[in-house]
Symmetry: C2
Subunit: 546 residues, 2 copies
Amino acid sequence: MKLVIIGGVAGGASAAARARRLSEDAEIVLFERGSDPSFANCGLPYYIGGEIRERNKLLVAPIELLVNRLALDVRVRTEVIAIDRAAKTITARNLATGEEYQEAYDKLILSPGARPFKPPIPGIELPGVHTLRDLSDADRLQELARKSRRAVILGGGFIGLEMAENLVGLGIETTLIELADQIMPPLDREITMPIQRELTSRGIELKLSDSITEITSGETGLRVKLKSGLELPTDLVLVSVGVRPENQLAEQAGLPLGKRGGIQVNEHMQTSDPDIYAVGDAVETYDFMTLQPTQVPLAGPANRQGRLAADHIFGREARYRGTQGTAIVGLFGKTAAMTGLSEKAAQRLGLEHKCAYVHPNHHAGYYPGAETMTLKMLYSPQDGRILGAQGVGGAGVDKRIDVIATAIQAGLTVFDLEEIELCYAPQFGSAKDPVNMLGFVASGELRGDHPQVRVDQLESSTWSEAQVLDVRTPREFAAGHIPHALNISVDELRQRLTELPRDKPIVTYCQVGMRGYLATRILLQHGFSVVNLSGGYTTWRMFHPA
Amino acid sequence: MKLVIIGGVAGGASAAARARRLSEDAEIVLFERGSDPSFANCGLPYYIGGEIRERNKLLVAPIELLVNRLALDVRVRTEVIAIDRAAKTITARNLATGEEYQEAYDKLILSPGARPFKPPIPGIELPGVHTLRDLSDADRLQELARKSRRAVILGGGFIGLEMAENLVGLGIETTLIELADQIMPPLDREITMPIQRELTSRGIELKLSDSITEITSGETGLRVKLKSGLELPTDLVLVSVGVRPENQLAEQAGLPLGKRGGIQVNEHMQTSDPDIYAVGDAVETYDFMTLQPTQVPLAGPANRQGRLAADHIFGREARYRGTQGTAIVGLFGKTAAMTGLSEKAAQRLGLEHKCAYVHPNHHAGYYPGAETMTLKMLYSPQDGRILGAQGVGGAGVDKRIDVIATAIQAGLTVFDLEEIELCYAPQFGSAKDPVNMLGFVASGELRGDHPQVRVDQLESSTWSEAQVLDVRTPREFAAGHIPHALNISVDELRQRLTELPRDKPIVTYCQVGMRGYLATRILLQHGFSVVNLSGGYTTWRMFHPA
């Protein structure tokens, strides 16, 4: 068996290592265009920012290790420029010498990755305008950053934001421009608001719903013109507006591509040619929840796919379950994370869904240092199956999203979340964990015990006539409330029922939803038509930032 | 409906709150023997140690809240002394006035909790010898601690250890005595070793396999005599050797008790009397995994049970799924946690099991601040179903145990753990999360790709003839290795196969198991009889501390 792997980062390196473990006999040739196979690309922003000091640390599996330990034939700085499927050979070009040669394969794994997209902006090829893909990009950016006073980042996705954090950490005045009306476009907008606020408070200039129309170069550096008319002088531009699959080789070889350019594969990561597999950021796989085609450039799935491709090549019945899209970003000590479907994805798919918000502490409130978080969970109104979740806040967000990611993988429902038994000691959680709370809120809605309305629904015509009822204390009410709300503290509610209308629906709310829930129960049992505002005033504030 | 609840802490308070949400009409009377219903008992050690400064913070739901918000009839400092099942009344005694009276009920929920066990040691009733159950105990201990220079703690369970940490934090010389040969008896011994080391390094004197035979009082304070012969002068003794269910009321009422004294209940938390429910630390429930009877005094299950009892009383089809035993303790910044079955529990039950060890970083090793942990997972050799897991280390242990707790709840297998997609950014995890790694190790064993032996098996006669092979570098080998091991680095292994015996089994190992796995694969494919030592030298060291 001769296995040729094109691309030596996450997917390719995983495939190579797994292949060697499955076969000592196989000849395994690994081609890598860059100088370093298997580098930690998720660490690049932190290397640029100086958080990761040693460049060596980013070399997860140095060449010597791949050669000595895994007995791989590693060819770096070598680009594969053609595949001859009939002859089962590839053509490689040594980038140092220009030499071209052919290499035969029995099985071929494509793991070429994805390249940063460069929008057709005049000036985008100027010196000082960068993208970030590999270690040599990072080296260049690190050097440039050291000399820069001002930076402009185009693109408010995870990498753009991580770069913004790191540049600010270097004392660079940083402006971030994003075409959408929110940062982190995969997340629902309201969930991004706490991070947006954090970025602003750290001095990052955010320009949402804006874009770059032109970049020019002058004596004092670069000038960036925005669609909004603004002009920004800068020393450095980072373009980080997503990636495109490296599909040229596959396309030239006649392998089918998806609509967005990803190499199409089956559940064994096989392309239409059974001797050619493809893995990682270059492929179109399918969504774990919806089974719809998807392209998600994440390291975890790339690693799994590489492993699976090797498994299948060596006769294992391995099947890819689809990509769940679990992702996380840490910025200035805050965290945003998601798994499964966002609400906007569900809406795009026309998928019926409900959603629950909670705003719990990450551990028992009575123990010092509790940080708050917001969790939003989507679930099926039919059977309560969990469709997705998002979290934002401080410590412990990653844990709750991981727990829900596991629940989704297992096909659990919101009713199961009521019952799961998680770690509780005051430093780690609560006797009713935030995940249990999500289960309570969603199950209550589905059982009809706890009818809820969402902030975005509140503004629809259905609810325009409703009486909004703030059941917090007068003091909380005075500090800020939903317009036109009536204030009756939940503790006085039973005595003041006569003040409430019986001829129109009531929407109760409190700070996070708990007291509003009790108020809803009280009013329901007294014959009122009532719903609770999901997540209370805290959620409302995420939709209506001050 | 008149609902009477006896005991106002976790289970009772949860039942009362849930009952009120389900019924505005119900008359709900809550009896509490102490002064404070619904206090945070898991916070008491931290209140004594001063970590939690405000006593008020421990009052999770003060009386006024229960009265005003939940419209409960709360009667504190009132002990229920008898149940008349035929008449459906209870007899209550006001502890302040001595007044006794009867109260009728339609439904009764017993949530009396458990009392600290006091072993029959001469002197155990002396002033200065304490147990810790409620806020008044905590108040007494807090005051005494302030005046104490030396303390002796009997019992190395979670509470004893938390108290040790807090007393040491107050500058008190602390000795901890435990009858077993390990601290934290619910955990497997090797998993407790890193915590044991931490305690010792913080100056706590540990006396394992020892006990107190007598406590005497003299002019200079207390004297504690140990079975080992040692005598310790001390100012304070805390007895923390487990709890006993408060079952007197139930027993007098003729309600069946389990072998260990817990009130027996069905899956609706009903006792043999359908009008009497029991919840919390006083009940015998069943284990989620084995369906065997169990008594687990934990706050999470108590809360769930309280909620379920109320649900069932008000006509919901709620069923308790059993207690999974998820528990955690944080000590000096280290964490130990478990969920499901420990290995000793599996052995006690005669349950066939396999186990996997991993020693990963809590986040990407290339990002600064990575802390290591040890995870041990038990699984079924038949179908790979996860039976239990334990973790010990620094940050991120709680997350992994919570993920596995969720997987257990869902009935997932080790093969599922290979596939779950968890959060990865360098600050939070790795592209192959520690939980995925557990999946790889266990699945490899079950598929036959990665035969393993455990440290404790290594010492059995089956393996006494085996050639132990250390595949780490000579430098690592020189720093410490398993006796009689041969050292051939994995990177040289293919060239040095002739040095290895073909007439007896080989046990490979490395530092944590990864290189040993590759070595096993290499040797297997070259026809050797070989197994990998699960978790490598790091696991071996946990069984053979320096």
